[in-house]
Symmetry: C2
Subunit: 731 residues, 2 copies
């Protein structure tokens, strides 16, 4: 948020007088008061929960603390800090130690400065009581200690481990802005005790089944596929059966026993039924239930904190009315406040909000209406003006002529959509065919021309600013894809015509763009649209999960790199090195790992570590690493599986489930939040008291021309899932 | 239900006179009336929904139709019909065709008779309107036609296919008693449209990704591990990527591209994120949501039908009271009815039910109270009598002596449980150790003695009939396991001492029993108990799922056997046949399938088909079968995966989730159903009007001795999950 400035475009006194000046007997509010109130409101709006000092100086510092520039800088330096792993040993792009150390020192400095700024803003005792500050300080100190030790060891040519790298992703969690991430971790931590009990029971079942397997199968002298004795070592059985839960070794582990007798299939069927199906479902149930429970609790606290902040803001700005009664905030003070909170808000939007708040048109609002404001501000209201098409203004005779009207009607017809869907399908077939054929290669130009024509026609028919409005996702998508495909195809043709050389990269981009174009079909089928919209709506929350996954992956990648780096080597396809056959490690000679060409699944740098961890998330294949190090290396993989698959992936599934349930229940009950209702009421109010904002009136769907028919509603309330959560305890 | 008999032990008139004879002016109800009312009530109680004829003769036939003997016979013959697959070609135990055909004819005859009986019971027009009857008739006719054709073909030595075998499991669904199963299938059918749309979107995403893979990776000349070109055939890519969703070929399919460049990992990561994680979660969400929705609708209809039946029963038995007003059912008629509905009900229990229904002790009940009876009858009420210990009666001096009291207190102490848990843990370690060691082998006797001692001590302290009451699951479990372990160990020792020969089977049983004993530990940890109890509670519903799975598996097994029988052969371990290396099919020479020793995963008989289908449910490995037949054989496996994994397993997971959510929400809110409350109220009523059943009074927890302290409550209301559903719309 930028520094507050006095707004000059609206005469201050007139607004107060118009409404009968209810603040007659009250002293005018100072700039400090407005700053303080604005900060309270914006904290409530963005769910910040910081107990800052209320002295004018601290407030000013706090406003600077919340400015977007230091925030972006902070995240940039966190990113730099995290991506140092690319350049440190084991590196993809090796850099000397002093260079990475210097960059890391810079990062540490930035983090320290940011923390120092924070310490200035909030009271001293609050600062030292907050575990996240302590965390950051400890991380910074430990990193510094580690760097000194490592530098000293390297200087004396000793072996050193940069163990503090594990701590880096924790910064992402502990910075003030990592609120969502902290909430997610807190939810996980709170759900852990319940998960733990189910996990114990699951482990108990695993131990019992392993014991039974040892007793039943160990004495029969069976052999596994590679000739080693089958099910004779208890720990080995335990591990094999654990992996069976992940279905990674599904038929293999059972085959020797099954080949011996049909009867043993019963053992494995029971095992799979109980442990793979029932226990994994119970994990999901427990995770889902607890996650939801604690999320609700968090949201409840958040709503309480928000209300508290708004009450504080009200307390700063409140005035006593002449006739006594409840304290109120005047329209004038409210305007000034909103201008501070959202400097870029339009006057029309502000007036809309005011008329929602000031239901009875009294010129001032009470506490209850004021408290609702934080939620009101969060609702995005798209104001659509029934502007005529620019061509209509330029040459109305032509634009309103019969052929032009016919064209407009054609483009708006359902058949137009269907024809283009068919074109896309034909295009899909053409893409699938061999593009070496000159006919196919040239057809690409025809398709591009058709797509361009579609966009131009739509621009002719629809008002361009409405067509490219902020929330017309598919229009933007279409245009960007088609235009970039056009550019890429032109560049590609140019490159091809200049010489025989065909750039693989450009061709790849062309292909990807061509295929992406096909996705457009989805939008024209209504049933698909609802599913896609739900998926798009949970997008932001998936980003939080992305951060969570990155934090966990980063920690495991750092540990994995220290444990397994260089144990498995990858040789390029064309390498003729004899070591290629066993990934450069004789221990892997003849192993499945080498035979299946898994050599690139290693911990030799941070990128391949991440890819390997993703593979482990999908299917827990880790026998290779136990072979090259020690059987106990499996512990690393089991811990990873428990952390990521049993806990985090289940939370992810729970989250998707919850999002869809909310979507279905909202769709079904046609429930409208109180805010939607208020704005609907206001539509009437606007229609009646149109003098409120005469120069820029919010138009209705009905008063707009048929041009905007395709746009479903005037106010698109973009209640993202997270906002839905915030509102639900109210409704 | 057995034929109704006039009860003789209670004088009929006296009951009526005692209560002031409210049925003074009404004619006495005939036996037919009672039969009809009893049938309505028992239909309501067991949720039967059959519109039977109400003529006395039809009612009598209908009572015979509901008798348990024909039902058990029917299921026995269905089982025989289904297990014919074991003896028909491809058979495990080959029988001549005439033998299996004769048995099948017998089965058909039984089914026809049963259907004929049913046709006598319900009105003609209802019979022909019911799709399940039509289904059975069609199945019977088709089977007959198929048998004739097959017999004729075999007689002329032509090739014939017993295609009607696919229809056999459908009998399980369409018989009158397959209500639960039909309900499950109906829920699936109703959920299908929604699943279908998500599935289309998923297929669309698959097609787009495959096209992109073809364009990006097909032209690079990459090779798979076995040297064939990588990602050049569109259908092959489609199949590979579909299998990637099941995670069966997780790293393998990606390795050639990943080995070529890190960049291609992005493609696969995106693919896995979207299709494996998001789409599979969406499937679960959609299945869960729809299943729940339709299940609720079904339950609502069921409750409505139940109420309707009870109203009809009330209509048969109702009488006008002397003073006018609402019609009622007298205590006397009610008693007679209940005796018909549940001949084995205890008098005390019946009186309890009556006092719940007749709240104000008026001697007669109205419609509302009568309608509730069906639910009341379904609640199992365990009556515990505070009987003294038999030893107390035999020699009270000894049993009440100080050492005996001390012993009782010791056994009831927490430490006793802990000591035995420790013994079990030590036993677990001993089991894990090598039993060849004589010390270990002899320790088994010590453990057995300890366990026996525990049971005897408990029998000394607790009243034996309370200890072995119907719902003391763990007491029964313990005793059965310990006693059978003792017997098996003795038999084993006897066999061993007579000669050197050790029977492997007996030893296996001994080991299994030893390990099962360890499960007991679970019961002594409270947190575990709740989880286990939920699992036990969903047991009956899992049986319905078991039937559902068997129906689907059976159909796929029959089709699979016709398609793939004899294509892959299994040779025993010790066989020296050179064909063993490629499962008897030269097409498999050098394939993964043969190398991994999967030869026993075949469709050569019904048992191995079932095991293979289970393996396919866990991990979709089917490349071998496409090799030995044709690439299109994969369709069979894809259809199986869609049907079983995407639909049925998701419903199973949804079911477990729902059961746990219900469990958690009930535990949390401590919600009591109205019936529980009523019975609690009654506890007081019993305490006050103890003259109601003086000779056999239901005792309170408090009035019983400390002996029964360990039993948590007097009335254990066993509301199974299905019953919970039935009640929830009321509460």
């Amino acid at each position: 948020m930028s520094e507050p400035e006095k707004s000059e475009d609206i005469p201050e006194e007139s607004a107060g007088k118009e409404k009968g000046s209810p603040n007659g007997g009250n002293p005018a509010k100072s700039e400090e008061d407005f700053n303080l109130a604005a900060i309270y409101v914006s904290d409530a709006q963005y769910n910040r929960n910081i107990y800052f000092d209320t002295s004018p100086q601290a407030v000013r510092l706090y406003m600077r603390y919340n400015h977007w520039i230091p925030k972006v800088l902070l995240y940039f330096f966190i990113l730099v800090d995290l991506s140092l792993a690319l350049f440190e040993d084991p590196a993809i792009f090796p850099l000397p130690i002093w260079a990475t150390m210097l960059v890391e020192l810079l990062c540490l400095l930035v983090f320290t400065l940011r923390l120092g700024h924070y310490a200035q803003v909030i009271p001293r005792d609050k600062f030292w009581k907050d575990p996240k500050n302590i965390c950051i300080i400890v991380i910074l100190l430990l990193t510094l200690v580690d760097m000194i030790i490592y530098g000293a060891l390297k200087a004396t040519n000793c072996y050193g481990v940069r163990w503090s790298r594990v701590l880096r992703p924790l910064l992402l969690v502990n910075v003030t802005e990592g609120r969502q991430l902290r909430r997610a971790f807190r939810s996980i931590r709170n759900a852990l005790p319940q998960i733990f009990y189910v996990f114990l029971l699951f482990m108990f079942s695993l131990l019992i089944f392993s014991l039974m397997a040892l007793k039943l199968l160990g004495k029969r002298g069976l052999k596994t596929i590679d000739g080693s004795p089958y099910f004779t070592n208890y720990l080995q059985i335990l591990f094999d059966l654990y992996v069976l839960v992940t279905t990674a070794n599904s038929p293999d582990v059972m085959m020797p026993a099954y080949n011996n007798s049909y009867v043993f299939a019963i053992f494995f069927i029971l095992y799979i039924l109980i442990n793979t199906y029932i226990f994994m479902s119970v994990f999901l149930a427990v995770v889902y239930n607890n996650y939801k429970k604690y999320l609700k609790e968090e949201v409840r606290q958040l709503v309480r904190a928000k209300r508290h902040k708004m009450v504080q803001a009200f307390g700063v700005l409140q005035e006593q009315r002449e006739g006594g009664g409840e304290p109120v905030v005047t329209h004038h003070n409210w305007n000034q406040l909103i201008r501070l909170v959202q400097p870029d808000i339009r006057n029309a939007h502000r007036e809309l909000l005011w008329s929602v708040a000031d239901d009875n048109n009294q010129g001032c609002i009470g506490k209850v209406a004021f408290v609702q404001m934080a939620d009101l501000l969060n609702i995005e209201v798209i104001t659509l003006k029934s502007r005529p098409h620019p061509l209509h203004g330029l040459c109305p005779a032509l634009y309103l002529s019969a052929p032009s009207r016919l064209l407009c009607r054609l483009v708006q017809h359902r058949a137009f959509v269907i024809v283009y869907d068919l074109i896309i399908l034909v295009n899909a077939v053409f893409i699938g065919l061999d593009e070496e054929n000159p006919l196919i290669a040239n057809s690409e130009w025809a398709f591009l021309a058709l797509y361009l024509l579609e966009i131009l026609l739509k621009l002719y028919v629809f008002e361009p600013r409405a067509f490219f409005s902020r929330h017309s996702f598919w229009n933007w998508f279409d245009t960007i894809i088609v235009v970039s495909a056009l550019l890429a195809t032109i560049v590609n043709s140019a490159v091809m015509s200049t010489g025989n050389y065909t750039s693989r990269q450009i061709l790849d981009i062309v292909f990807i763009l061509r295929v992406l174009r096909l996705i457009r079909v989805v939008d024209s089928i209504k049933r698909f649209r609802t599913i896609i919209n739900t998926l798009i709506r949970i997008g932001p929350a998936i980003l939080t999960f992305g951060q969570l996954i990155i934090v966990v992956y980063y920690i495991f990648a750092m540990v994995g790199m220290e444990l397994f780096k260089g144990k498995v080597k990858f040789y390029a396809e064309d390498s003729s090195d004899p070591e290629k056959a066993f990934c450069g490690n004789p221990l892997l000679n003849g192993s499945d790992f080498a035979q299946l060409n898994y050599c690139k699944n290693n911990f030799n740098n941070v990128v391949s570590s991440f890819v390997l961890l993703l593979e482990l998330t999908v299917v827990n294949q880790c026998s290779g690493f136990a072979t090259v190090t020690h059987a106990s290396a499996r512990l690393f993989f089991i811990v990873f599986h428990i952390m990521v698959v049993i806990v985090i992936i289940n939370i992810f599934v729970a989250f998707v489930l919850e999002a869809f349930f909310v979507e279905y229940s909202v769709e079904k009950s046609d429930l409208q939040t109180s805010l939607e209702r208020k704005i609907e009421e206001l539509e009437l109010a606007v229609a009646v008291n149109s003098n409120l904002n005469q120069h820029k009136r919010l138009c209705h769907l009905k008063c707009s021309a048929a041009l905007l028919k395709c746009l479903p509603s005037l106010f698109t309330l973009l209640l993202s899932v997270s906002k839905f959560y915030n509102l639900s305890p109210n409704s």
